[in-house]
């Protein structure tokens, strides 16, 4: 009996050590690509239904809008404006790289042409293009780890040679705890800082974590004092989302 107890302890110790070592090996084997992939997955999910409020601040004014959004993966998304009253019922549809808008006041579906893609979306500091292309972080960039702390990775994303993105570089800080971005800096090709996107206030939604507050701040001189805040008031991930939302018919149908 005495012998067995000592062996048991010994084996347990070896086993435990082995597990720890294996675990450590797993950690250090995690590549930057994996980190980014996780971030993208965490930001999108298989599907997402959210209620959002967006506040656009300029030096003179401050406006708040409320919207609900439905998306499947990164390719399809539907947004409906709920508030303020004069904008309520405006809907947006994005499928692959195309974007449509329905405006109930004028009862018209308009397809956003290429020349308008860089215009601001609903007066915010996001462009139409941002809504269409936000998911390309994994595919269009090569990633390199710049630094690491206990809590964060800092990753530089460089556009791949053929990637049709205007940025020269994106620097992303990723929380190790949640694999969610904390701060994203967008640089021009000459490496001027053009804008900064901060993700804050991580909440749990079902079995996922998600930043409930996004703050976009343009950094160019002509947009001094501008800021756009998006706060997520509710989010449901990976549920069944009706495919009907992602048709042109939907723009008008679901506008009410």
């Amino acid at each position: 009996m005495r012998f067995l107890r000592a062996d048991h302890l010994h084996v347990k110790a070896i086993f435990f050590a082995g597990v720890v070592l294996l675990f450590a090996a797993e950690c250090s084997a995690e590549s930057v690509e994996d980190v980014i992939k996780k971030v993208v997955d965490n930001l999108n999910g298989k599907s997402a239904v959210m209620e959002i409020s967006m506040t656009v601040k300029t030096r003179r004014t401050e406006r708040t809008m409320k919207m609900e959004s439905y998306s499947i993966g990164q390719k399809k998304s539907f947004i409906k404006v709920l508030y303020p009253g004069k904008d309520a019922g405006i809907t947006f549809l994005k499928v692959d790289n195309s974007m449509w808008q329905y405006v109930p006041r004028i009862e018209k579906v308009i397809k956003i042409p290429a020349s308008m893609m860089l215009q601001s979306w609903m007066g915010s500091d996001f462009s139409n293009d941002d809504l269409v292309k936000e998911s390309s972080l994994y595919d269009d960039y090569s990633h390199s780890l710049i630094s690491e702390t206990d809590r964060e990775y800092t990753v530089d994303l460089h556009p791949k040679p053929d990637a049709a993105v205007v940025w020269g570089k994106i620097r992303m800080s990723v929380s190790k705890e949640y694999y969610l971005p904390t701060k994203v800096l967008y640089f021009s090709e000459e490496l001027d800082l053009v804008r900064e996107l901060v993700y804050k206030d991580v909440q749990s939604y079902g079995d996922r974590f998600y930043p409930a507050l996004w703050i976009m701040t343009p950094k160019s001189a002509d947009k001094e004092g501008h800021e756009t805040r998006i706060s997520v008031s509710s989010a449901v991930f990976d549920s069944e989302v009706d495919e009907d939302y992602f048709t042109k018919r939907a723009l008008k149908r679901f506008s009410k």
């Binding site: 004014t61 406006r63 405006v103 018209k108 308009i110 002509d222």
Partner: protein, 407 residues
Amino acid sequence: MMLLNIAFRNVITHRKRSIITMLLGAVSTALLVFSSAWMDGSHQQMIKNGVEIYSGYIQITGAKFRENPSFDHLLFDVETLQSHVEAVQGVQLFSPRFESFVLYSVGEKAVGGMLTGIDPEKERSISRLHASLTAGNYLTQNDTNKLYIGQELALRLNVGVGDEVVFIGNGADYSFAADRLVVKGIFQTGLYEFDASSAFLAKPYFDMIMASDNMATHGIVLPENLEKSETLAAAIEEVVGVEYQTASWQQTMAALLKSMKLDSVFGYITLAIIFTAIFFVIMIYTLLVVYARLREIGIMRAIGTTPGQILTILILESSILGFLSVCAGGLLGAVFAYYFYLHPMVFSGMEEQFKQYGLAASAIPTAFEPVTIVRDMLIMFILLLLSTLYPILKVNRYQPIEAIHHV
């Protein structure tokens, strides 16, 4: 005095020479006067067109607006600004405008362009929008969603009077703005770029949908005296202060000015070539006549007339002829200038060319400026005089005996 008499007598005696010299002198003067009137007229027309069609003689914007035309740098209290500006001596009118970039959509088509809120009544005096009407009707102050659209833009969207055009864009508070508009009138200024990208609404209605009440992207000032735009702009700048920038057309349309200078240069070079030929011919004629009178001059020298006196007589002759021809030519040129001032010349078939140079109309009036006409006459007088100088000096070098014996 006696010399003058002699000079007169000589002029009258040698009629053929006098007539031909005067004819040449008169024609040159008439040509110079008319060409100047024509060049000045066409330049003034170019300025008027460039400035008056839309951009205005004096523009007031927020101080930072010119470099950075965003809604952060608008004119924010237009009413107060207007009262200050209209109080300045020399200002006839101040009219605010709000320009915004929008997406127009008709059917499946979506085209980007400008949508501008204007004061339709004031615009009648300040710009040519009203005068460029080609179909439908111009705007009135209380028009609502009635659109006044440029010809080429209407073509692109494939709309006519009464058709509907939808637009989406951002209001002055960056909020989303959209509306259904009905085409009330179509205009064609002749400036292709402008006609292909501009449309207008009455500002009261525009302000309502674009949240731009009492705001403007810029204001246009109509001076009482168009020539004094630059000084008036400076005066206004003094009054309104540093948060605004006041610019006269000379600053906003510097390229137009330069191209006019260029045009003048070409014009004067051409004239110079013609005048050179004339210069020589007058010199030749003077030479002929003076040589024909060599005996006469020689005798005068022999009886004691000094070379100085001979010189004086000959120069007086040239002056008399010059003076008479310049007066006759100046009058002739002035008459033509005045006629075409009242009845501008029309160049049919040259419209395309004109459009390229920003001249919307192909009728060009000449300018009629008495001061310029007198200036031209003076210039011609001096040139005519100079052209006779060489023969006169040459002849004066002859010794009396040589002269008398000249065959």
